[in-house]
């Protein structure tokens, strides 16, 4: 669709950054560095570019590079899964609603509108406290349980957002004459959806999906900051939570995760914007 060289410099940087994040997410555990929980007792609170710790350590001895890589894995996994699932379910419902119309459309659209009214943080808080918190607060909750509940709550929030986009795009495209032409050729409805509607709706969805990544990453970080997300700082939000108190003497402990978070969200937003701009340009030709 478009070449790397054609993009503007800032956009190229964004793509490169996201590439780096993906690399960390996929190959993090295989890198020749210790797990983030390893305590370097001799190097408490050292600044970045110190020997052995390129990003420094925090006051508890945790290496920040390892922590940030672990955070990347967490964020990427949650974002990709939530957006992926939300997109799949949302677009299936949205396309169906727009194609079938009538009562089905009415029901689904209302459901979307109701869903859109639910604030994501509140929902996540509610679900996590119900499903992923033990009554006995001293017992540790396994991380995977928290992750699953987070993904579920974020998926629920994303379904109506992506569903509405899919529905709108389907309404536009199914009104085009080539769909009528396909029907007059004797094509079945499912075939029409598969061959004619989906390929034309997909680009709009992907553009929004990128923007949604940014939102999900921040949501996860916020929840972790509040203590309701991934416990114990295995995520960017957790790092920020831990680093809050170190601001006076070791500000780098706070800045590092914040910078990673900010650049990642800027990158996804930028790519989402560029995709949307390309799309509008192409569609205006048609």
């Amino acid at each position: 669709m478009f070449k790397f060289k054609e993009l503007s410099k800032p956009t190229q940087l964004c793509v490169a950054w996201l590439g780096l994040m993906m690399f960390f997410a996929l190959f993090g555990p295989f890198l020749p560095i210790e797990n983030w929980t390893f305590v370097y007792e001799d190097d408490l609170g050292v600044t970045p570019f110190s020997p052995g710790h390129i990003l420094g350590t925090d006051n508890n001895g945790y290496d920040l590079l390892s922590s940030v890589i672990s955070g990347t894995r967490m964020s990427v996994f949650i974002a990709v899964t939530a957006v992926g699932l939300g997109g799949l379910i949302g677009s299936a419902l949205g396309i169906t609603a727009a194609f079938v119309r009538g009562k089905v459309d009415l029901v689904l659209s209302t459901a979307f509108n109701v869903g859109l009214a639910i604030p994501n943080l509140v929902l996540a808080l509610a679900l996590v406290s119900v499903l992923a918190t033990n009554v006995d607060m001293t017992e540790v909750v396994p991380i995977w349980r928290r992750v699953v509940v987070l993904v579920i709550s974020l998926t629920i929030v994303l379904i109506p957002i992506l569903g509405r986009i899919a529905r709108g795009a389907t309404l536009t495209w199914s009104g085009r004459e080539f769909v009528t032409a396909a029907r007059s050729m004797g094509m079945r409805d499912m075939q029409i959806i598969r061959k004619h509607i989906v390929p034309n709706v997909l680009p709009a969805l992907i553009a929004v999906a990128f923007l949604a990544f940014g939102v999900v990453i921040i949501a996860e970080a916020s929840l972790s900051l509040l203590g309701v997300g991934i416990p114990d700082g295995g995520s960017w939000g957790g790092m920020i939570a831990r680093g809050r108190n170190d601001l006076e003497y070791s500000p780098h402990v706070l800045y590092i995760p914040v910078i990673f978070l900010a650049i990642t969200v800027i990158s996804t937003n930028q790519i989402g914007e560029v995709l949307r701009g390309r799309l509008d340009g192409r569609e205006s030709k048609v």
């Binding site: 085009r176 004459e177 080539f178 009528t180 032409a181 396909a182 029907r183 007059s184 050729m185 004797g186 094509m187 079945r188 075939q191 061959k195 004619h196 390929p199 034309n200 192409r282 030709k285 048609v286």
Partner: protein, 329 residues
């Protein structure tokens, strides 16, 4: 103006398409219905090109879609090749449709912008499994040649790379892929440049002769219709005004609307300008059409009878049928 009236029907075995008493209405809002087509009957004989002429809102496009059952009409019969399409179950309807293909007004939006020309024309062949890969490719090439396009130059390109005229050629090739008996053309040249219109019209005429097609040609452009049709039907607000062969209709219109329509067409000859009585006012709303003859509110020849009784089609000269209580003699 007649809604019903079947005097113009020929009821022969050569009829490819027979439509009886077709009605299409749309509900808009609480108690309002748009009466797009009201009790209309027509027939198309093999080898004929029936042109349906009318201005916007007369129901001609709705009529075409209703014939294809996209969507099906509210009532009436659509008998194609001996079968009433309104009664067919979904599966049979799918296959029945393949004998009746349609060409649309907007050449670019009638082609999926993501598909190559090869995929576009192959699609109908693929749906109905017509032949092996090699046979289908050969057929696609032949079709492209016959519409005046070089296969090598177009097969791998997409619709947005072509001009309007070329897109329309591709649509015609696609429509002919399944060897239809009948071609419904819905304003196929309205969106094209003047010099391209002639090319596409000639192409349609050529296709008709080569493949022995029967055509239903819908247009608002009287000049285009005259060039291509063998029989013309004039519609107004969902009803038929007049049916006649083109030479007769254009030189001796019997219906007041037909005459007003003809007088409005700008002629590219400064010495032949008609400045007579122009049709005044606007067409009434299709949600609330006038009683009796639907044209009476704008007709110079209207009488009290026109408001009470709906005129039926009757023959006023050989082959010329008009729905009017006081036709022009």
């Amino acid at each position: 103006m007649a809604g019903s009236g079947t005097a113009h029907m020929r009821n022969t075995v050569d009829s490819v398409l027979t439509v009886r008493d077709l009605t299409v209405e749309f509900r808009v809002g609480k108690n309002k219905t748009v009466k797009a087509v009201s009790g209309l009957s027509l027939d198309v004989v093999k080898g004929e090109t029936l042109a349906i002429v009318g201005e916007s809102g007369c129901g001609k496009t709705t009529l075409a879609r209703a014939i294809l059952q996209l969507p099906p009409p509210n009532s009436g019969e659509v008998i194609f090749d001996g079968t009433d399409m309104t009664l067919l179950p979904k599966e049979n309807l799918r296959s029945a449709r393949t004998s009746m293909q349609m060409i649309f007004q907007d050449p670019i939006s009638s082609l999926n912008p993501r598909m190559t020309v090869h995929q576009l024309i192959d699609e109908p062949l693929e749906i109905w499994d017509r032949g092996t890969r090699a046979e289908r490719d050969e057929r696609i090439n032949k079709l492209l040649f016959s519409v005046g396009l070089e296969p090598d130059l177009v097969l791998n390109r997409r619709s947005y790379e072509f001009s309007g005229g070329q897109c329309q050629r591709i649509s015609i090739a696609r429509a002919l892929a399944l060897d239809p008996r009948m071609l419904i053309c819905d304003e196929p040249v309205s969106a094209l440049d003047v010099s391209i219109q002639a090319q596409i019209l000639n192409l349609l005429l050529f296709m008709k002769e080569t493949y022995g097609l029967t055509m239903l040609f819908i247009s608002h452009d009287l000049a285009v219709v005259k060039a291509i049709s063998t029989r013309v039907m004039v519609m107004y607000l969902g009803k038929i005004c007049e049916v006649a062969p083109p030479d007769v209709l254009y030189s001796q219109p019997a219906h007041h609307y037909t005459r007003a329509l003809l007088n409005s067409v700008p002629i590219p000859d400064p010495t032949k300008q008609i400045r007579t009585e122009l049709l005044q006012g606007e067409p009434p709303s299709p949600m609330n059409p006038p009683s009796g003859c639907r044209f009476r509110t704008r007709c110079v020849g209207a009488s009290a009878l026109c408001a009470e009784q709906e005129p039926q089609l009757r023959e006023v000269s050989p082959g010329q049928f008009v729905a009017c209580h006081h036709p022009i003699v």
